[in-house]
Symmetry: none
Subunit: 229 residues, 2 copies
């Protein structure tokens, strides 16, 4: 799942340089020369981040950022502004417009990539933080730990997410497809039988303390997490 970045910059030289750097860093880049072109691209691909030049012909970067933030579909997309000079006033005005960070030209490819990563990791927080407990089996998302009557239980990341999903949705049958959507994520193609394998691994992980039987097979339908037999 490649991270998509929309670059809006009118100078071809800079645009190419940025394109190269980001592509080399593993990002998927979409280029636009103007705000208008940026908007039409926005309709085709929703990017994970927008790199926006401060000075643009026609619609300025500020205008573009303001319009972005108004659109509920795009308002969560972080914006990094490219400015020519580190003018303090410009920065303040930019901040009001909703930009998440500023990079002043000239900049090194390394710095640009680094700051993009920094903005991206701030934009995506982690999931819920409530401790879940069923029948002595405790799962703590904050410490990312599972204990069975205070004994540590080891499992892989996928098993952890699977168990977390089960424990927050107990007593309910899920098909393999639903589990794939909720635990693996949409837009990923994985064989449904793979769910069986991870169910097996999860069962083995929590088996030690009589906590098997918690993950139940519903023949012909899917799986269920329940304390009742």
């Amino acid at each position: 799942m490649a991270v998509k970045i929309l670059v809006i910059e009118d100078e071809a030289a800079i645009r190419e340089m940025v394109d190269m750097s980001l592509a080399a860093a593993g990002f998927e880049v979409f280029q636009a020369e103007s705000g208008e072109e940026g908007f039409s691209l926005l309709n085709e691909h929703v990017p994970d981040l927008i790199l926006l030049d401060w000075m643009l012909p026609g619609m300025s970067g500020i205008d573009f950022a303001r319009r972005i933030k108004k659109d509920p579909l795009c308002s969560d997309i972080p914006v990094i502004m490219l400015t020519a000079r580190g003018e303090e006033e410009d920065k303040v005005r930019g901040l009001d417009s909703g930009a998440d960070d500023f990079v002043t030209k000239p900049f090194s490819p390394r710095e640009l990539v680094s700051r993009i990563k920094a903005v991206l990791r701030r934009a995506s927080p982690m999931s819920s933080e409530e401790v879940v407990e069923v029948d002595g089996l405790k799962l703590d998302p904050l410490s990312h730990r599972v204990t069975a009557h205070d004994n540590k239980v080891d499992m892989g990341p996928t098993e952890f997410r699977l168990l977390h999903f089960f424990m927050t949705h107990p007593e309910r049958v899920f098909t393999r497809g639903q589990l794939l959507d909720n635990v693996w994520g949409t837009n990923v193609y994985v064989e449904e039988r793979t769910v069986d394998v991870h169910i097996r691994r999860l069962r083995k992980a929590i088996a030690g303390s009589g906590h098997d039987r918690l993950v139940q097979t519903v023949r012909g339908a899917g799986y269920r997490f329940s304390a009742k037999p």
Copy 2:
């Protein structure tokens, strides 16, 4: 390391004014417009103090404070409530909100800063000055020393800050990004893998006295400091 303050306030004008004042006083400020945003910020930056508006869209300031105080990991963070002058003030003070202080709007920046410093002095032996000890490993922020069963432990400044952050927030997983934000600083752009290197150096430093195993790897998530295996 700079004192971090989380400001939760929906009015942009007040938020900016507070931001300016606190930044001028040497604090590191994080802004949030709503309780929800505040919580997600809380996940990334653990602040030393929270400045909380009483009237918030959605989750009210009271709700937010209560939820904070319920979380054992955040319950030690002092909270200052911002209230409008008038009829609300008395009600708020009467409620069991868990706030450490109240500041009524309108207020002067000078007053706000001095109240913040007062609360920090009063409530912060936990946060930055007190000696922390876990399992015979003692860290003294004032004398900048770490001892393991009275034997001095040597490490670099970055390892010291990393260990201090870990010891004041044990039993919780932090992603590399969160560690970068909280130990290195928000406006620093460093590769996430660099965290691994300093984790290694920290482990090597405290390894001598059986105090490895304290810094634990959580595969796919980040690192955790815990006395439990």
